[in-house]
């Protein structure tokens, strides 16, 4: 399944552009959890005057931008253990209350990284094998099962070209049928009852080229 398509002329999104693309779709007022790694960058691309409430598993509600140099507070970290700030109007809750929020229907969106997303919305993002040593799940399963919407932000393929959008996940599931949209470096793709539906593609990419990098059949909006 290695990708052989020519990539010259392809306006592949870099990490910042991928994060910015997700940020553009988050409306004011949503309560959002950003997964560790790439998804965390999304916060930097929401305009400061658009009030989006970023929540972190460790009980921080309404995180602001990264602290300025010299203003870091080691008592204020996010789920990725990075120092963050609190917006005016932010607050702190316990881990139990934080996950009550996550599971209880008040989290509008979780943006998560993934190894694979299946065309039925299955998500695999926590373990690479069922016998993995010391696997680390963190809050991934709670977020995937609890958020009102799960969007995945990931590279369209692995470094060696293996598709990450698949018919069925090969890796252990985080949660079944939870993903509603996938943002990659190449496209924005909805998960529908009929499988993957491509909403947009980067400039210079053909439908055939995108399909060749995808394990499951694509439809185009």
């Amino acid at each position: 399944m290695a990708v052989k398509t020519e990539t010259i002329g392809l306006a592949r999104r870099d990490r910042a552009a991928m994060a910015a693309r997700v940020a553009a779709d988050i409306p004011e007022g949503w309560v959002v959890n950003l997964g560790i790694g790439l998804p965390t960058l999304v916060a930097d691309h929401v305009p400061p005057d658009r009030e989006v409430i970023f929540q972190s598993e460790n009980g921080v509600i309404a995180m602001g931008p990264a602290p300025l140099p010299g203003e870091e507070d080691p008592w204020l970290i996010n789920a990725g253990k990075q120092m963050v700030t609190l917006r005016p109007g932010g607050s702190f809750v316990s881990q139990a209350d934080s996950f009550a929020l996550i599971r209880g229907g008040r989290l509008d969106l979780a943006v998560l990284g993934a190894f694979e997303v299946a065309e039925n919305g299955d998500l695999a993002n926590w373990a690479l094998a069922s016998n993995e040593k010391a696997p680390a799940v963190g809050g991934a399963m709670d977020l995937a099962a609890g958020a009102r919407r799960v969007w995945v932000l990931m590279e369209h393929t692995t470094k060696d070209g293996t598709p990450r959008l698949v018919r069925r996940c090969r890796y252990p599931l985080t949660a079944p049928r939870c993903v509603s949209r996938v943002y990659t470096d190449l496209a924005v793709i909805d998960v529908t009852a009929e499988g993957f539906l491509v909403r947009e593609m980067v400039a210079g990419l053909s439908r055939e080229s995108l399909q060749s990098r995808t394990d499951a059949p694509l439809r185009f909006a």
């Binding site: 004011e28 007022g29 309560v31 005057d49 009030e51 409430i53 929540q55 509600i61 309404a62 609190l86 005016p88 109007g89 932010g90 607050s91 702190f92 809750v93 139990a96 996950f99 009550a100 929020l101 996550i102 599971r103 209880g104 229907g105 008040r106 609890g146």
Partner: protein
């Protein structure tokens, strides 16, 4: 800009519709959103299921809502208080359904709804009339009853301070069922005594983060009338 402040109790309760399950905060007369309940009476919705610790006293608030025939069913722990004449009369006449739930189980069923927990086991009520017809299971040698989450379509609550995001603090024993009901409903409407600018509430002192609150109305009505 997120701004959950609305101009009036009437506007605040506008989304409440016939047949909804309405959680009403308060314990006795403390922390009870009486102005929101009165607005609900004036709005004229019908066929409500009301979840509340008490079932109203006198002729105002919840008692008025019931007296006007707007409540199909009450789920509560303690319907029989001094002055709870409306409920008792409706119940005697078979004009209202009543589900009695132990107070801690009521609080926990609401908390479960707010926490996305569909059901849990509790030792409370095992071996009693209130467990009849319910699944019972032994944990650690002890009989426990399966209880289900009790979500609301709407919660009407009372709080002390709020900002435009809906962050809330409560006053002394006015806290009671209010924070847990705020989490348990799809739509939470708060009647508050004080509205303060965003960022002025101590983040460590906020009890209910605004993420659980949808509408806030400023009604500085003074202290609860305990009699």
């Amino acid at each position: 800009m997120i701004d959950k402040i609305v101009a009036s109790a009437r506007e605040a309760v506008e989304p409440v519709a016939d047949g909804m399950t309405v959680l009403i905060g308060g314990f006795g007369q403390v922390g009870t959103p009486n102005h929101l309940i009165e607005a609900l009476c004036e709005k004229g919705v019908r066929d409500l299921v009301v979840v509340s610790n008490n079932a109203g006293t006198g002729t105002h608030g919840l008692a008025r809502l019931m007296a006007e025939g707007r409540v199909r069913k009450v789920i509560c722990s303690y319907p029989r208080s001094r002055g709870s004449v409306v409920l008792e009369e409706l119940y005697r006449e078979g004009r209202i359904e009543l589900e009695i739930v132990p107070q801690g189980t009521l609080a926990e069923r609401l908390r479960a709804a707010g926490a996305g927990i569909p059901a849990f086991y509790t030792p409370t009520a095992a071996g009693t009339l209130l467990a009849e017809g319910k699944e019972t299971r032994i944990f650690g040698g002890r009989a426990c009853v399966l209880e289900h989450a009790l979500p609301g379509d709407v919660a009407l609550i009372e709080a002390w301070e709020a900002d435009r995001w809906g962050n809330l603090t409560f006053r002394k024993s006015g806290r009671n069922f209010n924070p847990v009901m705020a989490m348990a409903a799809r739509l939470t409407i708060a009647q508050v005594h004080h509205v303060v600018p965003l960022g002025t509430l101590d983040p460590e002192r906020i009890v209910t983060p605004g993420v659980f609150v949808d509408r806030v109305v400023h009604i500085p009505y003074g202290s609860p009338r305990l009699t």
